[in-house]
């Protein structure tokens, strides 16, 4: 770590450092863009992955924390803190041209904190309406319902955008339009059978060919991060189940680990094993749903039911142990909430036994079908370079041959002890993404098979204080959720409720490549690309 410190000091002498869980680099705003460019391009540093962009309001100042990591340097993670002293006219240089993933991330920060990003091509709000008053995650936000009543009229001028550029030392606002006058814009969503939730794609088409996709998000935005700031740590746990409801266990596992890390708790072995088994069951259920939905979006409705038939078995296992089929609320700080159901081992063994033959059935009815192959192979090309630049993790990133499995790169819980392979495919197309999921089901079965007979006896959770107060500081924890790397950022000021919580959801990045992947393809491909990327809308909107 000190090695990196030296290199960074060489590149940016004015940078100061804070030691912590990750090395934190303080950079003055004026030097930020030049520094960022060197971080990315310098071969010795080579921070090519922007993992998270966290907007922050420290009351006296406002700013952004960037979490960066490198694919070539052992995945060391550093945080870069950029601060604006002027709260009311906060400007930070955009890095969306260096890391494309920053495009939507910076729009989110602008939406919630009002920080304007200089040279950002499209500085619109991301979640809230363009007539929203104020920026809700600022500590001085006025939540008076009179300011933001429930509006019953349409958003006006939704085609207007702007960017802030520097001209002669002054920052100038340049208005622009999302679509041209002559564009034939088809509105796909928010109510549409194939957007997998309330997602809206404004798509300009030329005949059947897609020219541009504008992602309009926020239809089920619940302000989870804002809600967390007023609740205690045990109270915020349940939100994670409601973001990506198909990765409920992994997300909650991540948040619990982050809090346990801050408290220095040792989770009992039995709870660790149970958590990992639940994570993998959840992954199987999620990939089965993804298989079904991909088939469904291609019109193969029968395959959809096949996927659901097996998913039902997984949900039954959850129901018996957790008491719920969705939103299981199973992990708690220090362990899990309830012990396993007596049938658990029997049910999991049954699943392990039947899955190989069922997977073969899926391949017979769908994966090897000529029409399905024609629809998926070579469609929605996402080269490895772009996958890294857009931080597309999870099965979608591994379909572009990017080895990005968090279970291998930042091992957590008992994963280092387990034998499983990271599935990689080099097709970079929808079919590869789809096949990675199918093969990951096999790997999850393998993990379950190793654990099902080796669940140790013992406590299911450790002793935790009655009132949980995190020491002042910041923590960032990642897990491999069903759709990619899920990250939780917690900053605490020592109180019983968090000062700031940020959830870095994988699906947020996935919609970021919709425009890149769909342009030049057909309308029908937009649907299949979306299905193969497999985003879950509540995870984007949070």
């Amino acid at each position: 770590m000190s090695d990196i410190k030296e290199k960074i000091s060489k590149v940016c002498p004015s940078a100061t450092f804070e030691e912590g869980e990750n090395l934190l680099v303080n950079v003055p705003e004026k030097e930020w863009y030049g520094f960022a460019k060197k971080l990315k391009d310098d071969k010795e540093l080579d921070f090519d992955v922007l993992s998270a962009v966290v907007g922050m309001d420290w009351k006296d100042s406002i700013g952004v924390i960037y979490y960066l990591t490198s694919t070539s340097h052992n995945w060391d993670m550093i945080a870069v803190k950029v601060v604006c002293e002027n709260r009311d006219n906060a400007y930070i240089h955009s890095v969306s041209d260096l890391w494309k993933v920053a495009n939507f991330q910076e729009r989110e920060v602008y939406d919630f904190f009002g920080i304007k990003f200089i040279n950002h091509p499209d500085m619109r709000r991301f979640f809230l309406r363009n007539d929203w008053v104020g920026h809700p995650l600022r500590k001085d936000y006025d939540a008076d319902p009179k300011l933001n009543p429930i509006r019953l009229d349409d958003e006006i001028n939704e085609d207007d955008t702007c960017s802030y550029v520097e001209e002669n030392g002054e920052i100038v606002r340049k208005p622009g339009k999302v679509f041209g006058e002559d564009d034939y814009v088809v509105n796909i969503g928010p109510q549409h059978p194939s957007t997998h939730g309330v997602m809206r794609f404004r798509t300009s088409v030329d005949g059947e060919e897609v020219k541009k996709v504008d992602v309009v998000s926020g239809y089920i935005h619940r302000g989870i991060e804002k809600l967390c700031e007023d609740l205690t740590y045990p109270q915020i746990l349940h939100f994670t189940d409601r973001m990506d409801y198909m990765s409920a266990h992994q997300n909650r596992h991540c948040l619990c680990m982050c809090i346990e890390k801050a408290l220095g708790l040792e989770v009992p072995r039995r709870a660790q094993v149970i958590r990992v088994m639940m994570d993998e069951l959840m992954r199987i259920s999620s990939h089965l749903l993804s298989f079904g939905c991909t088939a469904m979006d291609l019109g193969a409705t029968t395959a959809f039911f096949y996927g659901f038939r097996e998913r039902e078995l997984v949900l039954d296992i959850f129901e018996k142990t957790c008491g719920a089929r969705m939103s299981m609320n199973y992990n708690v700080i220090g362990g899990v909430i309830a012990d396993l159901h007596p049938d658990f081992v029997k049910d999991v063994k049954h699943l392990i036994e039947i899955m190989p033959s069922r997977l073969k059935e899926y391949h017979d009815v769908f994966s090897n079908n000529l029409i399905a192959k024609n629809r998926l192979v070579g469609v929605g090309i996402l080269p490895k370079k772009d996958a890294i630049n857009y931080d597309i993790t999870g099965p979608s990133g591994r379909g572009s041959n990017w080895s990005c499995d968090c279970r291998k790169k930042h091992p957590y819980s008992i994963y280092p002890e387990l034998k499983f392979e990271e599935v990689l495919m080099d097709g970079c197309d929808s079919y590869s993404r789809y096949m990675v999921r199918m093969k990951e089901i096999e790997q999850s079965i393998k993990i379950l098979d190793q654990l099902v007979d080796n669940i140790p006896e013992g406590e299911i959770r450790c002793q935790v204080p009655k009132i949980i107060k995190l020491p002042a500081g910041r923590w960032y924890q990642q897990v491999e959720a069903s759709r990619g790397t899920f990250g939780v950022y917690i900053e605490s000021d020592g109180n019983k409720n968090p000062f700031r919580v940020h959830f870095q959801s994988p699906c947020f990045n996935l919609v970021g490549v919709m425009d890149l992947c769909c342009t030049g393809n057909m309308i029908a491909d937009l649907i299949t690309i979306g299905a193969a990327l497999d985003f879950v809308i509540p995870d984007i909107d949070r």
């Binding site: 509105n187 194939s194 979006d297 009815v365 079908n369 057909m522 029908a524 937009l526 649907i527």
Partner: protein
């Protein structure tokens, strides 16, 4: 074999015997036939809706409708009643006249086609020498209704759906027509009744062996595309265009599209059974007199309807198995493979007929 013509002739004689003038007699008969056709149309449509729902449920490890009536038999009646009493929503900024006209064009073309089918021995409504040609001509009118519906709705989804439909139907009509012509070349007639009688000593699919089997396969593919059914259901690809050209329709106007879709399935199956499986002609093996006599015991109408249901079953089967193709793949499949192939097949059939290589 029982000839239903005896009944119709008897009825005609009775009507004339009452002293009715000829014009009135013909008018009464026309009205009765129209009522009969419309009744058949409705009953068949209802049956087909249930047939498809049950079949697809079984393919998908489900039970299908089970609540209304025994095995859900009355479900379709409830559905139809619901559609009848629903409001017809008229939309702002649409072309009202064309919007309302479109469903009638579609349903009219499919009713006319239904009237041309050979239902049984003597159960032929119009018998003229260009029968099958007339059916082909009328089937092309349906696409006009789809285009109108898409255009008049003033909606981008419906317009894209209608454009897809136009491209698709015009393309696949070629293969459809060519495969029918292949059989016409063999039979030497376009008269529907004669086509059936020609198959008394063996159905065309057996008599015409290789070219006839190829024509049958091409016909079923093209017919699936003509009826906008999966894997060619692009005009109403619900996962892309919500419901395609009929997105904006409600109530019985939507019901017309819905009924026409199912009836077109029956009609193309009916034509397939006429062209390849002998229409109402029972299964005969030349020389096996006893066997043929037994086959003749089964009423001709059962033969026809049974064959049509069987072919519908095949079409429904692959709709619920295959994913949907994309518009460019669909068009290149037709123009690059299916049409040249059916032209070559037509040539092969002509050679077979010229050299007498068929049975």
């Amino acid at each position: 074999m029982f000839n239903f013509g005896q009944w119709t002739a008897a009825f005609n004689n009775w009507l004339m015997g009452l002293g009715t003038p000829e014009w009135l007699g013909i008018t009464i008969e026309c009205v009765l036939i129209a009522v009969l056709i419309l009744l058949t149309y409705t009953v068949l449509a209802l049956f087909y809706i249930l047939y498809e729902r049950k079949l697809c449920a079984w393919f998908q490890c489900r039970l299908g409708p089970m609540r209304v009536g025994p095995w859900g038999l009355l479900q379709v009646f409830a559905d139809m009643f619901k559609i009848l009493i629903k409001e017809l929503i008229s939309l702002k900024d649409t072309d009202r006249f064309l919007f309302k006209l479109a469903p009638y064009i579609i349903i009219t073309s499919s009713v006319v086609m239904l009237a041309c089918l050979p239902w049984g021995n003597g159960l032929q409504i119009i018998n003229w020498n260009i029968g099958i040609f007339f059916v082909l001509a009328v089937s092309s009118v349906g696409v006009l209704g789809i285009l109108l519906a898409g255009w008049a709705s003033n909606n981008k989804y419906t317009l894209i759906g209608a454009m897809r439909s136009g491209a698709q139907m015009v393309s696949y009509e070629l293969s459809l027509g060519l495969s029918i012509i292949t059989i016409v070349v063999m039979a030497g007639t376009m008269n529907i009744n004669e086509l059936v009688l020609e198959q008394a000593n063996g159905w065309f699919i057996f008599k015409g062996h290789i070219p006839a089997i190829i024509a049958c396969i091409i016909y079923i593919i093209a017919a699936t595309a003509e009826t906008n059914r999966g894997p060619f259901d692009l005009p109403e690809a619900e996962h892309e265009l919500t419901a395609g050209y009929h997105t904006e329709y409600s109530g019985i106007h939507f019901g017309f599209f819905y009924l026409a879709e199912y009836l077109n399935l029956f009609i193309v199956s009916g034509i397939a059974s006429l062209m390849f499986l002998g229409g109402w002609m029972p299964f005969h093996i030349p020389g096996w007199e006893g066997f043929n006599a037994v086959m003749n015991w089964i009423p001709s109408i059962v033969w026809f309807v049974g064959k049509a249901f069987f072919i519908s079953f095949v079409i429904i089967w692959f709709k619920w198995t295959f994913p949907r193709v994309r518009i460019d793949q669909m068009l290149s499949f037709e123009w690059k493979y299916l049409m040249p192939f059916s032209l070559a097949n037509l040539l092969l059939m002509t050679l077979c007929v010229a050299f007498g290589w068929h049975f």
